[in-house]
Amino acid sequence: MLTNLFDGVAYGMLLFVMACGLSVTLGLMNLINLAHGAFAMAGGYVTVILVNRLGVPFFAALPLAFVASALIGLALERTLYVHVYRKSHLEQVLFSIGLVFMAMSGVTYTLGSQQVFVHLPAFLSQRFDVFGVSVGAYRLFIIVVCGVLAAALQFAVARTRFGSRLRAAVDDPVVARGLGINVNLVFAVTFAVGSGLAGLGGALGAELLGLDPSFPVKFMVYFLIVVAVGGSAGMTGPLVAALLLGVADVSGKYYLPQFGAFIIYVLMIVVLLWRPQGLFGRAAR
């Protein structure tokens, strides 16, 4: 029972780190970006190449995965995404689906279609008991890393100067511009950090979720659920939504294996019908 809860929390934390960037970009630029999972995939593959082929230690590879995905994100934001902010949601959807397709076959072409794994250091694949609850070291590691990240993000958004600019820009970009805030810069930085976090999540999750070129499509729905249910107002909504999703998914599969796949979708439809702006959302602009 507690082990399930623990697994669910680890899964949820992972989803949060991967999806939180998406929620900010949606809230800030009203951008529907279905290609977010591609950045997570990029991070995962960077880690695999670094660790398995070049022999870089796992812990050194994680920040590198973050940096690599952030740079890819920044480059794409400046060259491509910047042109679609003003377009309709439909065009944004098409654009990002196009990016997903390109990313998927690009990876297939260069790295092959088979599932790949990161070679973890041995001590992370241990397992031990904490107060009678059986706990996997790697999942614990994920919870700690993601928990620290979540706290840091919360702090950055709530307490720093950049965070207050970000919140101002989300609340009303026009007024924020009038106040002299460089909204474009704020957005570029946020997009890059969001992509980097997705990449880090992908790097951490490659071991747990499996990594192959179809990754962006497989998890797209999960990311969108986190954002849609959590709302795009801050960090708390997506975090709670991700944890709920993780726990519901894992325990659903444990207790009701026949209906496992239904639970999250039904849950999401119900939440969205009840509160179309998400659990923590605010009214649409």
């Binding site: 949606l26 529907i32 491509l80 042109h83 679609v84 377009k87 949601h89 439909l90 065009e91 944004q92 959807v93 098409l94 654009f95 689906i97 196009g98 990016l99 997903v100 397709f101 390109m102 990313a103 998927m104 076959s105 690009g106 297939t108 072409y109 499509v217 729905v221 969108l224 659920i225 954002v227 849609a228 026949q258 796949a261 239904f262 979708y265 039904v266 999401m268 439809i269 969205l272 019908l273 179309p276 702006q277 649409a284």
Partner: protein, 331 residues
Amino acid sequence: MSAREQNIAAASQALAETSRVKPAEIVFWLAALASFFLLPEQHLLLSEVLITGLFALSLDLVLGYGGIVSLGHAAFFGFGCYAAGLATKHGVTDPLLGLALVAVLTGALGFATSFLVLRGSDLTRIMVTLSVGVLMGELANRMAWLTGGADGLQGVAPGLLLGRFEFDIFGQVAYAYTLCVAFVLFVLARRFVHSPFGWSVRAVKENALRTSAIGIPVNRRLVVVYTLAAAYAGIAGGLLTQTTQFASLDLFSFHRSADLLLILIIGGTGYLYGGLIGALVFKLIQDAIANVTPQYWEFWIGLLLVSFVLIGRERIVGLPGLVWRRLRGRA
């Protein structure tokens, strides 16, 4: 005649003008008819194109006229496929009767789920339609005793069409049948969108607030158009099952809904022909690319999507014309 009456007369004449059959439309359907006689080897592909086109047309009703972005339209298509297959297996072997049944059933499903897309933002609608699609697929997977699960629905043997024609392996009857059904449905859809009711749906898309201010019930309009589109998608699915005698879980996949959006963007939304033309162009592109790089055609489809959005549809579609004018101007 008072000024007001004159205005009304002018407006109704302008509306009637748009609904008049244009020469290009006659050419289009004559070409479709001619393809039947001139391209006997391509009937299988053409049937698939036409069915996809009909499916895209139904999304056009939702998106181009109703303004609802749906990523789960394949739910209705797949449902129609399975409904037609199961009806055939369980006694309703007459193809036309089967199609009518499918239309009613899918319409009912569309009506029931239409209430889910009335509320919320584009994101909410995308999520809800996506989830309905996934749920339908999962349902079909779970109810393996009925649907055959992941093995697909086997042994669908539709009866003789009109009591006379057997579906042959060359796809002749299938194509003739698909062509006729598509034509009838197209004519009906054309009448629908040019009716006062159809115009009021377009008004909802343009500005829901103002439309409701002049007394048009916005939600009711959307429910009707969504239901109609669902029935169309279902019929397209039904046609597919009847002509291929098979249905599989892939019908519900995300890929189908995404491809469909691309088709509609290639062909253009809001004038009904977009779906049919887009489906033809999409299949031709897909075949051409797949012949060159069978493993990586997805990449080029993705590139196409991205460039459509970035460069703009008008410029890409207008390119051949532009080049032609340039060349002529120079000569």
